[in-house]
Each structure stands twice: as structure tokens, then as C-alpha cells.
């Protein structure tokens, strides 16, 4: 049979097996991307899908918009602080978890838990945990005398008001995001650390290299391809994410203290009804993320070649 023969040929079977992925990318990533571009140069609104092309006016307006400028800055702060903290904590955890100790499975299980919980649910948990009235964290601080009385370290007010103060609100969204990304980054780094040949580490130890020398001159350079992928993944994930921000603060406290590009795109495009401006905001992800991807992948390639 011709079909049988065809399927036995690698040159036919391979593209056929790849076809679902290609279709997925075209339909669910390519098509929305093209639509975003078309919308961004139009006057489309949520209530009126008929639109006309208006040129680059949306981009000009957005660039001049103070809320956009603040959201862009917030996005970079949110992304780079989160990714930095994730890398540090994930490396520390991975270093601990590659060693043998009693109860290791329990620690691993607990660390993986945040990854198994849906993020919206996890964020709602933190919403309660950091509640302005009933926060158990505030209660603990009050109980140990660090909050709620004159001269207390965190102030005389009864609560910290996590979502009412810009600095604390930003700290809260970054903290929850780090909590969410940490398990995967840890697992990736554990795999990376396990792949480093033990002979190299042992030889360095015999030559008298201490922990930090081994860390910066052996482990990190050898781990760089793995860390690079982790950075890329965490950056993409954070830069485009709005779940944590939306559930915890909705971009507040005012004025837009934790607004990021993803939440601003939703605020303008869906809540405000201006789909065109929402699409224009969302399109700003593309050049930034493409640039970051190009730099990181280039560095990773260089590290692998070395």
C-alpha cells in the first residue's frame, strides 16, 4: 500500500508527527499575535468588532501615557526582582536537596506543593494571609510586640496594610510570584547539579578550593546552560503574567503602584472596552521578550560551545 510505504519513510513521518505542534502554534499563538497587531493599529472596541485601521496612533498615545510608563517600570521591577530571587533561592534549595538527609522526601514534597496548586487559588490564599484586618502574619507580629504599639519596629498601627501601601503591595506580589516559580526552578537546578561530573568537584576540593570558589568557578559556569533556560522561562512567565497582580491588588494601591503591562492591557482592553489600546499595550511584550530570548540563548550557546 502506498500510504503504508509513505508512513515508513522518516521524511514523511517526522513532519506528520510535528504537524500537531505546528498547528497548535499557528492557531493559538500565531493567529492571536497577528490579531493583536491588527487590533493595535485599529479603533476596535469590545462592543464593536467592526473596525477601521487608524495607524500608529494607539502606540503614540500609550507611549505618552503616564500610567503606561509606570506599568512598564513596574513590569521590569516585578520581573527582574522575582527572577533574581527565584535563582538565588532555587540554587540554595537545590544545593540542600542534592544532599542526603533524614526527611528529604518530605522537604521535596513541601517545596513542590506550590507548583501543584492552581495559581489563582494560591493567590487567594495569600490574599487572606495578608488581609488588612485578619492577616495572621500581622497577628504574629503584634503578638511578639513588633507591631501595633508605640515604638514597635513595624509601626504603631494595628496592621501593616499590605495591599494599601505601595512598597508592601509590590513586595507581596513579588513574594507570591517567587513562591510560585521556586519549585520548578529548583527541580531544573537539581537536574543541572546532578549532571556535573563528581570528579571535577572532587578534584577541586583536593586542590583546596573552598565552597564559594567551587560555586563561582565550577558549578555556576557548568550550570549556565541550565540556569540560562531557567532565566528565560522565569522571565517570560513573569513578564507576561497578570494572575498574581490581578488577584492580589488589581494593579493598586492607587496610583497604579503594582500595575504591570499584562494587567494594564486587560484593564484598558477588556475592562475599559478599548480593545485596540489593550492590544497595543500587550504588543510591547514582543520586542522586549524577543530581545531577552536572543541574548540569553546566545549566551547559553556560547557557554555550551566553551
Amino acid at each position: 500500500m502506498n500510504v503504508r510505504r509513505l508512513l515508513d519513510r522518516e521524511s514523511v513521518l517526522a513532519p506528520l508527527l510535528l504537524l500537531p505542534v505546528v498547528l497548535y502554534v499557528v492557531l493559538f499563538i500565531g493567529f492571536p499575535f497577528v490579531m493583536s497587531f491588527v487590533y493595535s493599529i485599529s479603533n476596535v472596541t469590545v462592543g464593536n468588532p467592526d473596525f477601521r485601521v487608524t495607524g500608529l496612533g494607539n502606540f503614540r498615545e500609550i507611549l505618552a501615557d503616564k500610567v503606561f510608563q509606570k506599568s512598564l517600570l513596574n513590569t521590569f521591577i516585578f520581573t527582574f526582582v522575582s527572577v533574581g530571587l527565584v535563582l538565588v533561592f532555587a540554587h540554595a534549595l537545590a544545593e540542600i536537596l542534592i544532599r542526603d538527609f533524614r526527611g528529604k522526601w518530605l522537604v521535596r514534597f513541601l517545596i513542590m506543593l506550590p507548583w501543584t496548586a492552581p495559581i489563582a487559588l494560591g493567590s487567594i490564599g495569600f490574599l487572606w494571609f495578608l488581609d488588612s484586618l485578619f492577616s495572621p502574619l500581622d497577628w504574629l507580629l503584634r503578638a511578639v510586640g513588633l507591631l501595633g504599639k508605640p515604638g514597635a519596629l513595624f509601626g504603631p498601627m494595628s496592621n501593616l496594610y499590605w495591599f494599601g501601601r505601595p512598597d508592601l503591595a509590590m513586595a507581596a506580589v513579588i513574594g507570591v510570584h517567587v513562591w510560585r516559580l521556586l519549585p520548578l526552578a529548583t527541580v531544573i537546578l537539581i537536574a543541572g547539579l546532578n549532571s556535573i561530573p563528581k570528579e571535577i568537584t572532587e578534584a577541586a576540593q583536593m586542590d583546596g578550593a573552598g565552597y564559594f570558589r567551587r560555586l563561582f568557578q565550577i558549578n555556576l559556569p557548568l550550570l549556565f546552560p541550565v540556569i540560562g533556560v531557567s532565566i528565560l522561562f522565569a522571565t517570560f512567565f513573569t513578564f507576561t503574567d497578570m494572575t498574581v497582580v490581578w488577584v492580589l491588588t488589581k494593579g493598586g494601591p492607587p496610583p497604579h503602584s503594582t500595575q504591570v503591562l499584562a494587567s494594564l492591557a486587560f484593564l484598558k482592553g477588556i475592562q475599559g472596552g478599548d480593545l485596540a489600546q489593550g492590544a497595543a499595550v500587550a504588543l510591547f511584550f514582543f520586542p522586549v521578550l524577543a530581545g531577552i530570548a536572543a541574548i540569553v540563548l546566545r549566551l547559553v550557546k556560547k557557554a555550551v560551545v566553551i
Binding site: 508512513l7 513521518l13 500610567v67 498601627m157 492607587p254 497604579h256 478599548d274
Partner: protein, 472 residues
């Protein structure tokens, strides 16, 4: 049993799976298609704040369907998902036949049917509609009824009488100035703050609009011209800053729709601006707090004006793609109006009618009959004089100040209509940010008002160019 799949088997099975996935939606589509000979009416609305209302509404809609040989399907979704769900239905060109919003959906005007006919019919049958209900469903520029408004919710002040008694004001605040004078004393002497949101959320939007109106200013005038940047707005912003500094805590910047209820029930608010739902929650959870909660109408400003924003306005739309079922949808909405006594009762007086002169139907209405009541106005007056949901031993007449609430309530966009620009300004929280920038000391009141007015100006221009707002 065979352990491995051959390549051919893999391809064949994958093909079957892919076909299943491809056919799935169309099979589901068929499952939801109308049965031959019997039509289906699909309704989308929010999950009501008072769960009891939904428990009444769903069987009511089903029964209505049985009486009209129609299958009625009611889908409830979270308030936050209403706009995005309807937006995707508009793009898809299919979905529900009636979508009920709780804020004016004026930006959807191009995608919904003109409901002038049922609005006229309703006024013939049920009498004059509350003016702000019309301004929340009618575009005077295009002369189109993009929605049908059947009800709304009062947004009074809720205060703790025992606290206000202690500082010599047992009747609660009647002016905004009272909030500073007495609210600050309650905070400093009794340690209980005021709870008026200054955050990016609904209640803040309403409270701050009420403040502007009471200071005789607004975003637009009656002819949809932007007038925000004026001295009265600056005065209102300065007032709010003083109110925050003297009577509140940073908590109000992290305010959510639930914060009013939480703070009142926890006994940590001397005054909140909210519908009676917070009080109803307290009746169930903390009766001793509920017994201490009393109500005030809209507070007056420096020149005696006093208006509050409706807390919720129920506006139903019929999308253009549902033209086939428009007759059914319109009949359903009109019949809902004539059953609004039940809607009021089942929402525990959370909802009020847009047509107060609707005649009350005879027979057993599912609540203790109100003697001599001929219209919804009679029932409303009776229930707000003696709250049928009051706790045993609770003071009489607590809801009396809300009896004529339609006189001091108005719509988003007052004194003009709730046009798409006003709604976008509402949904993107331009006013809460204007007030907060000053309260946080980041900007002067003058500069913050100018910035907000510039933002509003762009929004107005955009919707003007779409032809949904009148010319300057």
C-alpha cells in the same frame, strides 16, 4: 496483549483522537442546539450578592419557560467575568439571548438591539421609569435604547449609632463635613476609623462620584461636555485628602468590594458607604453589630447638594446575534418587571424597581401580603417603614431614611447619560487615582485634577470619534 504500538497504529489512533477533538465542539454545539418545535432562551447574569435571589430567580425563569413552551437556561457567572464573557460572545456571534449587566453597558451599543419598543411598552404598563435608569440604558446622541433597566440598588451611608452617640451625633452624619468633624473624633477618641474606599474598585468609584456631585462638580455636564478640571473638583480632592488623614488608615488604599462588609462586621468602622448588604450580612453573622447599624441618605456638600451613585443598576441587553429570540427575550424582561415585588423580596430589599408604579399582582406572592398595596411604590414604602427582615428586638424604622432614595440617587455620568466615556473612566479607575495621588502626597490637588481631566479628555475624544457621544 501487545506491548507496543506500531507507527501505523500510532498514526491511526492519533488520527481518531484528533478527529474526536475536532468534532467535539460541533457535537457539543448540537447538544445545545434548540430542540425541534421548542425554542430555548438563554440568560446570562451575575451570581447575585444575595444568594437567595438566584435561588428564586432560576426556578422562576424555568417556570416562565414552561408557561411559554420555552426552555429557559440561566447561567450565572462572577461579576468580574461578565464583560469579558459578553465581549467574546459578540466576537463569536453567538451566545446568550439576554445578558444582564450591573453597570451600564453603553460601549456595547453597536452590538445590541435597540430596545425602544419594550422601554416604551414598559412605561405604558408600569408608569414612569426612574430618570437615572433611563440615563443608564439610553443614548440621547444616537437615540438608541441599548438596554432595558429594570432595577437598581440604593447606596446609603451605614453608621454605628453607639459610636456616633458617644460624640454627640446620634443621628449620624448628614454632611460630608460631619465626617471630618465627628469621624475624626471617633477615630482619635474611640479608635474606630471611617471606611470609605480610595482604591481601584467599585465602591470607591461610587463614593468619590458622590463626593464630586455633592461639591457641585462632575466629570461631564448634561450635554456630555468634559468639565472635570474646575475649582470645585480641586476642593473635593482636598477635602478627601483631609478626610483620609484625619479619619482613615492606609487600609482604604487596598479596599476591595468586600472590605465594607468586613470592616463593619468586625466592628472596626464607624461609617461605610454601601448598600444594605453589609447590614444584612451582619444580621446573620454578628447580630449585635447589626442592631447598632443605622442608615443615612446621601450626604450634603458645602452648598447643600447631596447625591449618591446607584450601587448597582440592572441593565439587560439583547445582542444582535440573538435577533431570532428577541421576541421571547423582550416578553421575559417585561414579565420580570411585573414580578418585581418578588425580586425585591427575594433580594431582601437589596434590589429596588426602576418602575415604581408597577401594579402588584394578586394572589399568593410568596411573602406576607401588604395591606392596601396597589403598586410597587406602596410595597416599597411599607417594607422600608417596617423592615420585614429586621431581627427580633431590632429598632423599628431603620430603613426609613432610604424610602425616597430615588430622589437622592443618580447614575454614573450624572448629570449626563452613562455614555461609554463615563463607563471607561469608571472601569479604568481614573477618579480613584486622581484622589489617591493627592492623599498620598505625590501631587498637588490642582495637578492631579489636571492629569485626570487630560486622561478623561482622551477617552471622550475616542468615543466621540466612534459616534457614541454628542459633539462638543
Amino acid at each position: 496483549m501487545k506491548k507496543y504500538l506500531s507507527r501505523r497504529e500510532f498514526i491511526r489512533n492519533a488520527g481518531i483522537g484528533a478527529a474526536g477533538l475536532a468534532l467535539g465542539p460541533s457535537l457539543l454545539n448540537d447538544a445545545f442546539a434548540q430542540k425541534p418545535g421548542r425554542r430555548t432562551l438563554r440568560i446570562l447574569q451575575w451570581s447575585h450578592f444575595v444568594p437567595r435571589y438566584d435561588k428564586w430567580f432560576d426556578p422562576y425563569a424555568k417556570k416562565w419557560g414552561e408557561e411559554h413552551n420555552v426552555d429557559v437556561i440561566v447561567d450565572h457567572i462572577g461579576l468580574a467575568d461578565l464583560r469579558s464573557t459578553f465581549a467574546s460572545e459578540v466576537v463569536a456571534g453567538k451566545g446568550h439571548d439576554i445578558v444582564e449587566f450591573i453597570d451600564p453597558p453603553s460601549d456595547f451599543e453597536p452590538s445590541v438591539l435597540d430596545l425602544a419598543d419594550i422601554n416604551r411598552e414598559a412605561e405604558k404598563k408600569f408608569g414612569k421609569q426612574a430618570p437615572f435608569a433611563k440615563r443608564s440604558s439610553y443614548n440621547p446622541h444616537t437615540k438608541k435604547y441599548y438596554g432595558f433597566c429594570h432595577g437598581w440598588t440604593i447606596d446609603p451611608g451605614n453608621y454605628r449609632k453607639s459610636l456616633w452617640e458617644k460624640i454627640g451625633k446620634p443621628e449620624g452624619p448628614s454632611t460630608w463635613e460631619d465626617l471630618i468633624t465627628y469621624g475624626s473624633r471617633i477615630k482619635s477618641e474611640l479608635g474606630v476609623q471611617l471606611g470609605i474606599g480610595m482604591s481601584q474598585e467599585l465602591d470607591t468609584n461610587m463614593a468619590e462620584r458622590g463626593l464630586l456631585w455633592s461639591f457641585d462638580t462632575s466629570i461631564q455636564d448634561a450635554n456630555e461636555r468634559l468639565i472635570l478640571d474646575n475649582k470645585r473638583t480641586v476642593d473635593a480632592v482636598k477635602f478627601m485628602t483631609e478626610l483620609y488623614r484625619k479619619s482613615m488608615t492606609p487600609e482604604v488604599f487596598g479596599w476591595t468590594a468586600a472590605s465594607n462588609n468586613q470592616l463593619l462586621i468586625a466592628g472596626r468602622a464607624s461609617y461605610i458607604l454601601n448598600s444594605i448588604s453589609a447590614y444584612r450580612s451582619a444580621q446573620k453573622d454578628v447580630p449585635e453589630i447589626a442592631k447598632d447599624v443605622y442608615f443615612t441618605p446621601a450626604m450634603k456638600g458645602p452648598k447643600g447638594s447631596g447625591l449618591a451613585c446607584e450601587h448597582v443598576i440592572y441593565v439587560s441587553v439583547i445582542p444582535k446575534f440573538a435577533t431570532k429570540n428577541a421576541d421571547l427575550a423582550k416578553r421575559f424582561l417585561l414579565d420580570l418587571c411585573s414580578n418585581y415585588d418578588r425580586a425585591m423580596w427575594e433580594s431582601e430589599l437589596y434590589g429596588s424597581p426602576a418602575f415604581f408604579n408597577t401594579p402588584v399582582r394578586s394572589g399568593d406572592r410568596g411573602y406576607p401580603a401588604v395591606k392596601g398595596a396597589k403598586t410597587l411604590r406602596d410595597i416599597h414604602n411599607a417594607w422600608f417603614t417596617a423592615d420585614p427582615f429586621a431581627l427580633p428586638g431590632e429598632a423599628k424604622g431603620k430603613l426609613l431614611p432610604l424610602k425616597d432614595a430615588e430622589k437622592w440617587s443618580t447614575n454614573v455620568g450624572h448629570p449626563g447619560p452613562a455614555n461609554p466615556a463615563e463607563c471607561e473612566i469608571f472601569s479604568t479607575y481614573v477618579l480613584p487615582n486622581m484622589f489617591a495621588r493627592v492623599a498620598r502626597g505625590q501631587q498637588s490637588a490642582e495637578d492631579s485634577v489636571k492629569q485626570a481631566a487630560a486622561e478623561c479628555g482622551k477617552i471622550f475624544e475616542k468615543w466621540r470619534s466612534q459616534g457614541l457621544i454628542g459633539k462638543k
